[in-house]
């Protein structure tokens, strides 16, 4: 590991060889705020992210979100191909994909409920039940594992007071084990909602959780 002071929470550009801020690494300044109706249709499907506040009963694909869905649909030769983007959009609004949500998406796309059920359950990123405001996914695959990912996972469970996959009593945290997140040079990699936290060690965990709760308090 580098001798540079570790400035977690965490991204791996702080080796002292680059003059980078966290925003530079995350690309936040360049990417900018993404409007919910999407900009160009080519990128309208690029928003499968977890909002901190979500409503399990939010109406699906109305207003601006309908506009976004129409843009997405225009990019594919078949309605079926818009299924994954539509489920992504539903999860963004509602936080998870319930059987009822699957049925609604099915009727929107003209597919059978059973078919959508079959597809939705194939993919791990669709939360089949509600999760905490922050979904903490700790990679424990090989590259992270040999550098101590099991301890990082244990630390997240300990400091959130939860069992694997369960949500903390305050509804803030759900900790799960993730498969390789493609940041193997920066172990342990942890994905929290839409953000990657890199180079996380067990001792960084309290800092990260504090940052998250501070963000919640700040709204």
């Amino acid at each position: 590991m580098s001798d540079a002071p570790f400035r977690n929470p965490g991204w791996a550009g702080n080796t002292g060889e680059f003059d980078l801020s966290e925003d530079d690494v995350r690309g936040a300044a360049y990417a900018g705020e993404r409007p919910p109706e999407g900009r160009h249709p080519s990128t309208s499907a690029s928003y499968p992210f977890m909002l901190v506040e979500r409503d399990p009963y939010a109406p699906l694909f109305e207003g601006r979100h309908k506009e976004r869905y129409e843009k997405i649909r225009s990019r594919y030769p078949t309605a079926m191909a818009a299924l994954l983007p539509a489920l992504n959009l539903a999860q963004e609004l509602r936080g998870h994909i319930s059987p009822e949500t699957m049925d609604e998406v099915a009727s929107l796309l003209g597919l059978s409920s059973a078919y959508v059920r079959g597809v939705a359950t194939f993919y791990t990123m669709y939360n089949k039940r509600p999760v905490g405001r922050f979904l903490i996914q700790v990679c424990t695959n090989i590259s992270c594992n040999i550098c101590g990912a099991d301890e990082v996972l244990a630390a997240f469970l300990e400091h959130t007071g939860t069992e694997l996959g369960d949500t903390s009593d305050d509804g803030n945290f759900t900790v799960v084990e993730a498969e390789c997140l493609a940041a193997c040079g920066f172990p342990t990699c942890v994905q929290i909602n839409e953000r990657y936290f890199e180079d996380v060690s067990a001792r960084d965990v309290p800092n990260i959780l504090k940052r998250l709760t501070d963000e919640l308090a700040a709204g």
Binding site: G27, S42, S46, S143, I146, G185, R195
Partner: protein, 430 residues
Amino acid sequence: MAYPYRHEKETRILSECFGDPSARTVAGWKKHGGYQGIARALEIGRDATIEDVKASGLRGRGGAGFPTGLKWSFMPKNTGRPHYLLCNADESEPGTFKDREIIRWTPHQLIEGCLVGSYAIGAAHCYIYLRGEFFETTQILARALEEAYAEGLVGRDIMGSGVDIDITLHVGAGAYICGEETGLMNSLEGRRGEPRIKPPFPAAVGAFGMPTTINNVETLAATAHIARHGGEWYRQWGTDKSPGTKLFCVSGHVNRPGNYEFPLGFPMMELIEDVCGGMRDGKALKAVIPGGSSVPIMSAEDCRACTLCYEGVEAAGSMLGCASVIVMDENTDIVKQVRRMAYFYTHESCGQCTPCREGTAWATRILRRIEDGLGTEDDLDTLIQISEQMTGTTICVLSDSLAMPIISSIEKFREDYLALIRRGERVGAA
């Protein structure tokens, strides 16, 4: 520049702008020669572009190493049907983290590569299939794509050439198997990401039933440079059978992990000891997985003379894969790590083929039993037998990908397995 560490020996083609946020914009990328590749391709025409890529000898960077120019030349001509280019950005092979760096630092490098590829194969629409976890990376690419559309680099009549090429970002939802090219096509179409039987090959019947080519992010990025400079230019690096430069993703117990770009044929020990600053805490090297978790494990001895090119790693008994070098020191518990990989393949098996669905699951259970000190020597024979039945018997190579680390680890680190078994016997666990 490598990221997050640099080394003076690197050859920086793909990675020139890693760690430089100013290269994310169209203007920034053009300062580095951006969009000259597609301009030259449009000038010399489709066939000449394919010939250039053929002449470069570029091999697919997603793991299989199939010659890219040859793959492009399989696409039928004048069919009157839509053709598709799919960019595989579903990077999820354990140990691999190069595509994410390419996209987040140089999104236009990928967009340009997609244009070159689409133009060469006659595709009017390219889908970039990004893994769902890459939210931040995807936002950078989305912004870049919007910029490229606004500048007339993508869309109708690109750069005033009369050629139409659309690019659409398609975001997956978390399934390793969607990185397999036919699984990816199914997922794009809104199906379960289950691989398809080949033939028919994608060039004949691909996405939406149309002629399709699927290329990895790094492959397409390289074609942007080849289109700009020509095929012979690319051959100044690398070996005869493995031309060009490659990103090496080094992870594990080294002092300076990260991405480094070198000509293929770079010596493995030099990469570990010099470029990556040697082993952490001065420990001894125990094992290396040279190409992502799906290839045979190498012992420290195997690494001594190994050069990192397709033929060099093969001669050392493994495969280059996507050049994801996972370095393990003397304290590594090989059995635990093989079990962790086995669990991964169990989780990610799509379940279509019995040898894979059952084989991965049972291998994980047996490995867990050995790890817990409850194994016997017969278990090793059973694991080998299961692995052999998982090789070449399924639609895709996911089950082969687990068989290889299991067989190679038992061959090379049998003592590690036996030590756990004997310790279990001593305490009377078995």
